[in-house]
Point group: none
Chain length 216, copies 4
Amino acid sequence: MTSSSPDDVPATAARRRTKAPQTRAVALMDAAEQLFIAKGIPATSIDDIAAGAQVAKGTFYLYFPSKEALLGALQQRFVDTFCARLQEAMDRHAPGKYRARLKAWVEAGLETYLDNVALHDVVFHEYRPEDRRMRNDNVVITQLVTLLKQGDAAGVWEVEDATLTAVILFNALHGVADDAVAMGPHANPVADRRRRARALARFFEQALRPDDSDDA
Amino acid sequence: MTSSSPDDVPATAARRRTKAPQTRAVALMDAAEQLFIAKGIPATSIDDIAAGAQVAKGTFYLYFPSKEALLGALQQRFVDTFCARLQEAMDRHAPGKYRARLKAWVEAGLETYLDNVALHDVVFHEYRPEDRRMRNDNVVITQLVTLLKQGDAAGVWEVEDATLTAVILFNALHGVADDAVAMGPHANPVADRRRRARALARFFEQALRPDDSDDA
Amino acid sequence: MTSSSPDDVPATAARRRTKAPQTRAVALMDAAEQLFIAKGIPATSIDDIAAGAQVAKGTFYLYFPSKEALLGALQQRFVDTFCARLQEAMDRHAPGKYRARLKAWVEAGLETYLDNVALHDVVFHEYRPEDRRMRNDNVVITQLVTLLKQGDAAGVWEVEDATLTAVILFNALHGVADDAVAMGPHANPVADRRRRARALARFFEQALRPDDSDDA
Amino acid sequence: MTSSSPDDVPATAARRRTKAPQTRAVALMDAAEQLFIAKGIPATSIDDIAAGAQVAKGTFYLYFPSKEALLGALQQRFVDTFCARLQEAMDRHAPGKYRARLKAWVEAGLETYLDNVALHDVVFHEYRPEDRRMRNDNVVITQLVTLLKQGDAAGVWEVEDATLTAVILFNALHGVADDAVAMGPHANPVADRRRRARALARFFEQALRPDDSDDA
DNA sequence: AATGAATGAGGATTCATTCAT
DNA sequence: CATGAATGAATCCTCATTCAT
C-alpha cells in the first residue's frame, strides 16, 4: 500500500496485451451494442463483436460465457443507465417537491427513452430473453412506485394501487415514446417532444387527481 | 356399391394428397404459432413447422415463400382477430352508449390480450420486424381513436389529441396485461383480472374527465 | 369435305388439351433451350421449362423421363441441325467439286457455329453428359471424313489419316469460332467472320497440300 | 537433441489442429480435384470435399469462400501447371531452335493434355464458368503466339496472323487429344500417342510452310 | 490472458420426381 | 393425356464454441 509499484496505472491498464478486464468487457459490450443496433442480434456474429472490440474471437469467451449472457449484461446496463438518469432528473428537485419530481421523472423518461429507442428495442425485443423486455417489475417501476407512495403518504395525491398505477404510467410513457419513433424522423422533433411531454404530464396529473366522486 | 366402406370420403380425399389450400396454410400457421410460442422463433425450424402441420418440408414453401413471410401472416392474423373481438365486445352496446362501449373495449382488450400474450410476444417482439411490434399506429389504435372522437363529438368526454390519448390508453392496457403475465400464473387469475380491469377502467375515466383547471 | 368445320386445322392440332405429342415435345425442347442459354442448366428447373412451354410440370415427364434425357435430345437435335446445314451448303456444289465442297463446308461450319455458340456451349459443356461435348466421333466428323476420303480417292488431295485430319480440321474450326466469341461482340462482326473464314480456308488448303518432302 | 524421435515434427504439428494454411488449401484442392473428376462438380458436395481433405466442413470455408471460388483456384492451378510443363519442354532446346521448340511444344502439349484430360474437362467444361473453358485467349495461347512470332521474325516460317494461327494450332492439339480420349483406353496407348504426335507435328509444319502460291 | 484455426451441428431453401385426380 | 399439389432428399453455408498454442 505504502509503496505504489512503479507501473501504477499503466501497469493495470496494460503492457501490451492484457488489459484491465473491465476495459475489455466494456469494449466488447460497446461493440456489441453498436452492431446489434445496426444489424440486429441474430445477424451479428461473435466474430463481428470481437472484431469490433479489436479482440480475437476466443477472447470474447473469456469475458462472457455466451452470446446470451452478453445480451443480459447489455440489458442490465441499459436499465441501470436509464434509472440513473431518471434519478438524477428527480434529484434536481427538493425531496419534498413530489409533483415537481414526478414531472421531472416523466420528462427525463421520455427524453432518455427517445434517445435510446434503437438500443432499447434491440436489447429487449429480440432474441427470446428469459425475461422478456424491460419488464414492468423492473427497477424503473420500482423507482416510480416509491415516488408515488411518498406522494401519497404526504397527501399530495392519492394512489390506491401504487404498483398498478406505476405500471400504467410507465407504459403510457413507453407508448407515447414508441409512437414518436413510429412516426419516423419528425419535422420538428423538439416541438414534437415537448408536445408529447406535455400530454403525458397532463395525463399523469389527471391520473393522480383524486376522484371527483369522492370530493363531490 | 352395396357396402361403401366407412372411409368413403377419406378414401377420396385420400391418405395424403391435395387438400384445400386454405386448410394447409391454416394448418401451417397453427403449427407455427404453437411452436413459436413453445420454443421461440429462431429455435423453431421449418422442419418443425412442417412436421407439426403433418406436411412435408417442401410443402411449406408452397404456401409461404419464407419463414419471415409466415411471421407476417401470423402478425396479420393476430391483429385481425384481436380487432374483431374488441369490435364485437363494443357492438354489444348501443352505438350511442360511448362510456359503455369504451368500458367494453377496455375489458375485452385486457381479456383478449391476456389470453394471447404468449402469442403476441412471440409474434411481435422477436425477429427484427420491419415495423417493430403491434404498433401504436395499428388498427386497434384506430379503432379506439374513432371511439374517442365520437364520444368527444357527442360531448360525453373531451379529448384534445385523440391519437395521443388512444396511444396512452392502449399502452396502459398493454402494460397492465404484461404486468399480469410477468407475475406468473396467479393464484386467483379471475380476481386478479377483475382487479386490473377495474383499475384500468377507473384510469380511463380519469383520463377522459374534463380538466379541473377548466372549471376552476 | 364440303363443309370443313371452322376449326379445321385446330381440330387436328387440338381441341383443347391434347396436342400432337411431337408438338409438345418440341415446345418443351424449345423452352428448355432458351432457358438453358439464358440461365444455365443447373439454374433452370423443370418448373421453368414447363412454364416456358405452357404446360403443367407433370406433363414434362410425359415426354421426357428426366432432365438429363431432355439434354440428350437437345444435343441430338443440335448435331442433326448442324449437319443438315453443312450438308446443304456442300450440296450447293456439284458432287465432284471437292475443293469447293470443302470450302463450303468450312464456311457454313463457321457461320452455323457462330450463330449457335451459346446453345452449343450450354448443351455440350455443362452438366456432366455421359458423352461429353459434341464429340470428335460425331456425325459432323463423319461427314468431313467422307468428303476427305472422296477427295483423296479422286486425287484432289492426299490424306493419310482421314479421321485424324478431320478431327484436326474440325477442331481448328471450333477453336476459331470460340475465339471469335471470346472476343465479345465485335465492332464489325461481318468483316471479322470473313477474316476468320479466310484464315481457316487457307489453313485447310495448307493442311491438304501434298508434302514438300514427297516432291523433293 | 541427439536422437530426435522420428515423429518430431508431427508431434509439434499435432494430432489435429492448426496446420500450415497452404497445406490445408492444397489438401482441399487435391481432394476436390479428385472428386470432381470422379463424380462431376454438381454431384460433389462441400461435405465430400471436406471429408476428402480430412477436414471439417466448416474448415472449407476458411480457405475458400465458395465452391465456385474453389473451382476458380483449380482452373488457375491447371493452367499454371500446364504452361510450366510446356515451357520446360521448350526450354530443353536452345532459344534459336524454333522448329525444335515448336515440336517440343506440340509433343509436350499432347502428352500433358492427355495426362490430364479428365481434370481439364471437369474444371473447364462444367459449371457455367464466367469465361467458358480454358480459353483461346489464355496463357497457353500467348505462349504459342510468342514462339510463332519469334520464328516469323527469324524467318524460320511465315505467319500472317499469329494469334489466329495459334488458336488453330492449339485447338488442333486439343481436338486430337480429345479424340484420343474419346476412343477410350487404347490397346497400345504409347503407339497411339506417338501416331497422334506425329500427325500433329506434320500438320503444324504444313501450316507454317510458306504458301505454294508465292513460289508458283 | 490471448489467440484464431478448427469444428460440426443446424438451418433455410431448392427441385427433380411422383401420383391422385 | 394432362395436371399441379405434395414430397423429402440433398445442398450450401453460418456461426457459436472449443482448445492447442
